[in-house]
Symmetry: C2
Subunit: 265 residues, 2 copies
DNA sequence: GCGCTTGTTCCATTATTTGGAACTTAATTT
DNA sequence: AAATTAAGTTCCAAATAATGGAACAAGCGC
């Protein structure tokens, strides 16, 4: 069930914090609560050290230790995230345009942003039903097999793109997932010309999408919007027709950001 | 707009991590992105130290530094939280019962857990409309002015309760908010007898709720469920009638936890 | 009980954080 | 435009915290 997201890769120059966050990553990325020994083997650190690190994380509420000695993600993370989300400017600006797009198409709309080589979903608007938002929002998905991801890559400066691609490790999710930097690069070039991207069931079988990129002038910020739905309902032809509205929505969001954040960037 | 949640109060024995988390708290609790100098005055630390701490937090993606030198919560927090939420056992067990309760009453149902002296909302089920879940989920609210909070307190062992009450600082949100430990304690004793709690517009004017506590045998885990809605629609009489279904739902959730987590606790 | 695994504590060594000050850069005023 | 002030960044010896090996406890299966 793990999405194969490029996790870990510490070696950051963040001293103690970096080590602790790598550990937190390790525990939160697991599919189930881990016991001390499991973590010990995964983290490859001395017992004493690991024990203290875990204790600190637990004490701070970032991890939780249940009665059976298993470590699970802590609830303080939720509190932090709730604030992070509520105040995110990009999301706030995009919100009305996502709703419009949802109304116009009747399908699910996603907003995502490129972070490293992952796409982090910031918002999701579905037409009907109480939405289980956390089920998607906040999730990190690979950039090479999602519509938003490929759209985002298409706006990256050549050098950054080359860098990112060279560091990528591909996981095949479906028959049509890109598994080489070459074919991916070819498609990204096409996308750069067209101004929109498709996901042809590359991340999940039976799920398609059209996406358009959103970027700041200085390219420090890159994300995208998409319309997603089941393949049986969304023919490639229909998706092609939606390319225009998705691009328009992306344009309006960029305009909103320009107004809000000042035109200079 | 800040909910007056008892934040900070570090003095934890968590070394470097504790200091950094207190700083992260400070920035994420602010209503808007903070500039370096703002944080400097709030945190009361030497410039050099603060600068490095912020750099580390930014490097790790826990904070973000925009082009204008302002610090805002980072997106990595979302990724962490998404996992924390998706895997939370209590929430998973409660989910179907919350939905049932929502169906039965037509009003909004909340699930919360006591953490320190705050209630952290873990889930929310509304009847209609795409839900903006992060708008509530993950939020920490004071325990003394919410239905779930007071219900939870009623199941705390006497000693823990006394401790918690003595450390509480009250903020008056509405005319009926408890602002002294004495009146609160009196009500909590009633609640302990009755088995359910009301929120009589104590946190937000015009909003009422009935809540029932959920607890593990050893009282290490305490939370609650509630039905919430506008006062004009939810008379106190109607709320009283819902006390039974709320308690039943709470009972079923506890039963679910007993089965899942083993009967010993 | 015995051996084995798992989890916890201790403490000298090592590495990181600290905080004052000096230094750069940007913004504002004269 | 120069002078002045504020804002942000870098440096390094001293103080503090993290490390990791080993010894110590607690469970568990046999």
């Amino acid at each position: 069930m793990n999405s194969g997201v490029d996790s870990i890769t510490q070696a950051r120059e963040t001293g103690t914090l970096g080590k602790l966050m790598a550990l937190l990553d390790l525990v939160t990325h697991a599919d189930a609560p881990l016991r001390f020994t499991d973590i010990l083997s995964l983290a490859g650190q001395p017992r004493g050290t690991l024990h203290r690190q875990l204790s600190h994380l637990v004490e701070e509420g970032l991890l939780e230790l249940d009665g059976d000695g298993r470590y699970a993600p802590g609830l303080r993370l939720l509190d932090f995230a709730a604030r992070s989300w509520a105040r995110n400017e990009f999301r706030l600006i995009a919100e009305p345009h996502l709703a419009d797009l949802q109304q116009a198409t009747g399908e699910t709309v996603h907003l995502g942003v490129l972070r490293g080589s992952s796409i982090i979903y910031l918002d999701k608007v579905e037409g009907h039903q109480p939405v289980r938002m956390y089920s998607q929002i906040g999730n990190a998905s690979p950039c090479y097999c999602t519509g938003v991801g490929k759209a985002a890559l298409s706006r990256l400066p050549a050098e950054s793109l080359a860098n990112l691609l060279s560091g990528l490790s591909f996981t095949r999710f479906t028959a049509s997932t890109h598994v080489s930097a070459e074919t991916l690069l070819t498609e990204i070039r096409e996308i750069a010309d067209l101004g929109y991207a498709f996901d042809r069931e590359e991340h999940e079988a039976g799920i398609r999408c059209v996406a358009a990129p959103i970027w700041s002038e200085d390219r420090t910020f890159i994300g995208g919007v998409s319309i997603t739905g089941p393949a049986y309902r969304l023919s490639m032809e229909l998706l092609s027709q939606w390319a225009v509205p998705v691009q328009l929505a992306a344009g309006r969001i960029m305009e909103g950001m320009r107004v809000r954040l000042g035109p200079r960037r």
